[in-house]
Amino acid sequence: MSAKLMIDRSHGQHLFREMLRIRRFEAKCMELYQAQTIRGFLHLYDGQEAVAVGIMQALDERDAVVATYRDHGHAIARGLGMGPIMAEMYGKLEGCSRGRGGSMHLFDRASRFLGGNAIVGGGLPLAVGTAMADQQLHPGAATVCFFGEGAAGEGEFHESMNLAALWKLPVLFVCENNLYAMGVPLEVAEADTEIIHKAKGYNMPGEQVDGMNPVAVEVAARRAVESIRAGNGPWFLECRTYRFRAHSMFDAQQYRTKEEVAHWKERDPIVRMQAWLLEAHLMTPAELDEIEAAVDTEVAAAVAFAEAGTWESVDELERFVTMDEVPS
């Protein structure tokens, strides 16, 4: 078991940089949204970055990822280029889904990124299916399925957990428990607020992990993926986390107090990681400046890429409603 993880200089900085990339990318999205350059729904991942980044450390190119509508973080951490993601937000042809998916439906075949699903719980059955295919065609590959704790109320969640455990499918279920489903607090929605207990009900191993700490998430994810690759069936991780911003851009957040948000912000995974790396001399202030500058440059390049993008011809509107062949 790789329970103990050595955080050396380069890995520590890597985790920090990956989280910062998501945070800065989304800060830019927010700005662009307010300027009405990008439209639709915009669900930001602020505060939850440690989850996506921690989980992705355990994956390689064999693996598939099923995300939710809050998918920018998952996509960036999975390695989709910021340019195509930003172009997707703009609705441009150069977007990772040709501008047809937008913020909630980022797809990328090359990295087996199976998109943001905007139906709560809707991605879980899909993940069960890719895992079925992998079990037969690509033993050792895993599917990671992200969802919020709100999904635990849906039947599809339970159907999927049962089938995955019954058939010992290679799926890692990652519940990002940020305590609210839009405005519904966990205790208003769940008879048992320990989501991890649900794994027991399906005879599935799992654990609860501090979702504000990328190292803790990575350790848990590595343990889980190792077991999955060995053919032991699915694994469940409940990552306790928090979103700092509104559910989406149309949310006055009347369901929670400013104090509560402030309290969680003290556990900001990026701020804490930065402080820790500096204190432990795993990152110098000069390196920090460098990382920040590089990330800002990358975000600016993504915006430039999106700005320079083109609009798909309306003649193409009905293309891909059905396909002529299965892409290989």
């Binding site: 047809r100 879980l124 299916g129 891909f320």
Partner: protein, 331 residues
């Protein structure tokens, strides 16, 4: 198992042989559904296949329509060729999310990066006194949805050959098998080894009117045509076969020729496939029509249990004859 001679078989056997062929031909193909294995399928379509192919390829699932369907979608994306069986289309409502929000959308939403080569088979229709929750015809609803192909085999030949065509299609295909057809018997022409799942077919030629129909209503329409012929009215029967995308070409050619049309659809009239067909004819063929379009549909009630009530609710031969006569020989 009691196999009949290869050229004469029931609709059920045709379905089974189609599945068997698919499993033999392609190792990526598997069947998944409730009671498809040990029990042999609730309509006995998959009987014997578990013994022949084993539990990896004939997968009994829990009662969980949504994950069965969703897993089929994921498995298709992952490189397998799943044939999902949903006991009856009534239960497919529990899988609507997966069918409508995933199967039908992923290709387009992903900008063409992912295809979903999935086949879902389900039983449809009334006529067996199974009451409302086991007798509905929902294929017309599914035909509303872009991104999926909807098939309704009404003959032994289609039951035998449509599955292979559906599996060869890179898109999600829904196949609706009418429950009253399973016991129907017929001859299979050994010379025909494939069918085109983009085309409607003329099942009977006639000059006086066109009857558009499909699935379980096809035998009724053919019987009605027999009665009409005895009265000197020659009805042309167009078997739609493919409910999405509709084959306008064949439909328009027939109605353009006969200039009169009766649509027989076991769905309810309001907002139905028959409504779509009538609208298309009104939009595109109005000046060629000699009479109003008539529809014979299921009465607007949940299908009742009592036989006489069920008969009254569903389109019957007499209803078709009456509608046709009204067009050709107006009183």
């Amino acid at each position: 198992m009691n196999e009949q001679a290869p050229d004469r078989m029931t609709y059920r056997e045709a379905c089974r042989q189609a599945i068997r062929d698919a499993l033999i031909r392609d190792p990526r193909c598997f069947v998944m559904g409730e009671d498809v294995g040990l029990y042999g399928g609730c309509y006995a379509v998959t009987k014997g296949l578990l013994e022949e192919f084993g539990p990896e390829r004939i997968r009994d699932t829990p009662l969980a329509e949504s994950v069965i369907t969703g897993a089929g979608i994921g498995a298709a994306i992952g490189g397998l060729r799943p044939v999902v069986e949903i006991m009856t289309c009534n239960f497919s409502l529990l899988a609507l999310d997966q069918i409508v929000n995933n199967a039908a959308t992923i290709a387009h939403m992903s900008g063409g990066q992912f295809a979903v080569p999935l086949v879902i088979r389900m039983a449809t229709g009334g006529g067996r006194q199974l009451a409302a929750q086991h007798s509905h015809s929902l294929e017309g609803w599914y035909a509303h949805i872009p991104g999926i192909t909807v098939l309704a085999p009404g003959t032994i030949e289609d039951a035998r050959l449509m599955l292979a065509a559906a599996l060869a299609d890179p898109n999600p295909v829904l196949i609706f098998e009418h429950v009253v057809l399973y016991n129907a018997e017929g001859e299979l022409d050994p010379a025909i080894t494939s069918v085109d799942i983009r085309k409607a077919r003329i099942r009977r030629e006639g000059r006086d009117l066109t009857i558009l129909t499909y699935g379980g209503s096809l035998p009724k329409a053919l019987a009605a045509a027999g009665e009409l012929a005895a009265a000197g009215i020659e009805a042309e029967i167009v078997d739609l076969r493919v409910l999405r995308p509709l084959d306008n070409e064949t439909i328009y050619a027939s109605v353009g020729r006969t200039r009169r049309c009766v649509i027989v659809d076991e769905g309810w009239r309001s907002g139905s496939l028959s409504a779509e067909l009538a609208a298309r004819l009104a939009e595109d063929l109005f000046f060629e029509l000699d009479a109003p379009i008539r529809r014979v549909c299921t009465r607007e009630v949940p299908i009742p249990y009592a036989a006489h009530m069920e008969d009254a609710a569903l389109p019957q031969v007499a209803d078709i004859v009456e509608a046709a006569r009204g067009l050709v020989r107006p009183e």
